[in-house]
Symmetry: C2
Subunit: 421 residues, 2 copies
């Protein structure tokens, strides 16, 4: 297997001005890594013919495949196709099918077409045209001697589907190998501990490769195998994923790409026919918002309370005035009472509460980052103390994620007791 | 004034693998544009000596100042300082002050120091050391002939304060010019309309420059002036900001850099001594969470309800069963009743409600993206219908921002009636 080196050249003055974050480069890099292709360089260059030519020349010289993003628009500032075609020595001519697609697109949007839009239908000779279902700029693959230049539109909603649908199959054929990845998503274990648990696997990796990624409160382990056939790639990944599953057990919440932590919690609630209520202070609705992020959350989520003030904690969540006076709002006792449940809203089987101090300044001696999270599953109460670091936003995010994690742990315990107990 | 060309070289294999988004490059580009410095190229290169050397050599050849980010850690993989020093022909030696800072840092964290940490205190000769209050890697400015290499640590929480505190003053001196920016933040006006309103200003800009940035529901207009003195730069920006203020009037919510839309709403509530309650369905706590994002929100925010189910809308928000049956949950009538107020929680003067359908699939004929937002200010009810586009997350974000905007409009109206009516 020949190593294929890919380089990403992002074209656009708006990136150099810092007006936008270059998420395209990140998306492409991640997907290319999944495909087992090596990216040694990324470049960003503005809408300037001379500098674009320099960057393109450099990339086509040192890499096998160069993916360009942006600069395929209809204006005079959009130079990518013209510049790369010039470097490749290819003439442009009108591509009838692309012209028709552009006309149809404008008709559908009920917008008048202007002559400069047909600039986008001009295609370099010997190229492969990649159709664009979400905009007017077709993508194009231009052969440059032994090298390939792949030109994609800049807007992510056009680039992403075009890459997935047209470029991935092309690159797979090019590399002559099939790649298959599976990601094991873990919570309740820190990154360094997770790495220690699989250190021997990481140290001895060749095929499949194993990479860990830390997210707030989570660790993702991606296992990627390469082989000549899809089947063989699966066969290579399977035993390693199985071994990782054995080592992390219940701390794995999914091995499916499209399952998030909140989705895993919603699925567990559904599995147990449990309804959930949130009672939030410092997170102020963030736990509820995460759960409702899951399509179909309405099956398990009925209501939530944001009890930010002491009065709200008393009147809505039924926390006793004496508790607040004796232990303060940021205490184990208050968290527990917040999660006790009231008669006010729809009945819930699982109640999760969060109370803490997110800062920015220390208040009445309560240290910034001190957070209590309680979870009540059918009357069984668990409460945990946390000391988060970072700014206000980071502390609130950590609290939100850990509320989801605690819910998951408590519901799992409940379900296993119900089944085996 | 000599044009200073700056280039950004981000070092880190994790960027090339797509594990992280290169937000440092965006941050630096934006700040450099504010300083009136031109960025013609960004590069990303992995933790590989040979390729890093190539990228650094190219950058130092074509640009005046090269900012490197990352690769200043204590491990053998961290090569930036060693590689750039080699290119500049500068020897490294132990910098006592940096060594002591590292020792103090570890002592404070109560973590044992290992020998490789002192690699970070090795500084190239003739360099300027930039102290790091948030980590162990000092930054460093290395003279490379006529050019300057500025090396900054990769973690944003170390890079950002170091850039602001140490690099900005250095660059200002280098360019011999002073730059001053002010941003006018606008809501209730779309981007293309906003651009039309100031088209003449944009078309005729030289100094100050005027740039518009679209955010969900908001438009930011940044005015940047350059001059020989701070005072003169202010003087250049002032009349243009004044003219923009005249044109957008009440649609401007702030001209202060650190005021967000939610902060502007919280400030208005404070100004009117008004308490607020949120009652949310499809946004599920996101409006409450945004308001509570503002430090000190506890002065105005007492409680919020997440009434996702019809039962919760009835039992917690007091929406009539008949209303839900006749008009459905996603209707003007339901939004109004949700914002009517109940006796349950702490008393509120302003109640904002959001009910809508965020998808992904159409349900019972309710189109995805249809959202009603109601705002009740001391009994005066305003309700608006929206048809948002995009996926579930995007629709919920649009609804959240527009709830804040509607609150702002209604409270402003109330305050002006109270004052003048």
């Amino acid at each position: 297997m020949k190593e294929v080196i890919v380089e990403i050249v992002s074209v656009g003055t708006e990136i150099l001005l810092g007006n936008i974050v270059n998420t395209n480069a990140q998306f492409l890099s991640e997907r290319l890594a999944d495909l087992g292709l090596s990216v040694f360089y990324q470049q960003v260059v503005g809408d300037n013919k001379e500098r674009l030519k320099e960057a393109a020349g450099l990339a086509l010289n040192r890499s096998d495949v160069v993916i360009f993003t942006g600069g395929l628009g209809p204006t005079d500032d959009d130079l990518t196709k013209e510049t790369v075609a010039e470097l490749a020595g290819k003439k442009l001519s009108l591509h009838e099918e692309s012209k028709e697609r552009i006309e149809t697109y404008f008709k559908k949007k009920n917008v008048e077409i202007t002559e400069n839009n047909f600039k986008q239908a001009m295609i370099p000779e010997d190229s492969i045209v990649l159709k664009n279902d979400n905009g007017t700029a077709p993508g194009v693959i231009i052969p440059c001697g032994e090298k390939k230049a792949i030109l994609l539109p800049g807007p992510p909603n056009e680039l992403i589907p075009m890459f997935n649908e047209s470029v991935v199959p092309y690159l797979k054929k090019l590399s002559g190998r099939v790649f298959y990845s599976q990601t094991v998503k873990i919570c309740s274990v820190g990154e360094s501990k997770a790495e220690t648990i699989i250190k021997d696997l990481i140290d001895n990796q060749t095929n499949p490769t194993i990479a860990t990624y830390a997210k707030t409160g989570e660790v993702h382990i991606r296992v990627t195998g390469s082989a000549e056939t899809e089947e063989e790639a699966h066969r290579i990944v399977k035993p390693v994923v199985k071994e990782i599953k054995t080592r992390f057990g219940n701390n794995i919440y999914t091995t499916l790409a499209d399952v998030t932590l909140e989705k895993a919690v919603v699925d567990l609630l559904e599995a147990g026919s449990l309804k959930v209520q949130t009672v939030e202070s410092c997170t102020g609705g963030m736990v509820a918002a995460r759960l409702i992020n899951v399509p179909g959350a309405s099956n398990v989520f009925k209501s939530g309370l944001v009890t930010y003030s002491n009065k709200a904690k008393r009147k809505l969540a039924g926390v006793k005035k004496a508790t607040l006076n004796k232990y303060t709002a940021v205490s184990e006792q208050t968290a527990k009472e917040m999660a006790k449940g009231t008669d006010l809203g729809p009945k819930a089987d699982v109640i999760v509460s969060v109370t803490g101090y997110a800062g920015p300044d220390e208040e009445d001696g309560t240290p910034v980052g001190l957070v209590y999270i309680a979870c009540n599953v059918c009357g069984k109460m668990t409460v945990k103390e946390f000391n988060f670091t970072g700014n206000r936003a980071k502390i609130r995010e950590s609290a939100t994620v850990n509320a989801l994690i605690l819910m998951r742990e408590c519901i799992l315990e409940y379900l296993s007791e119900k089944t085996f107990g």
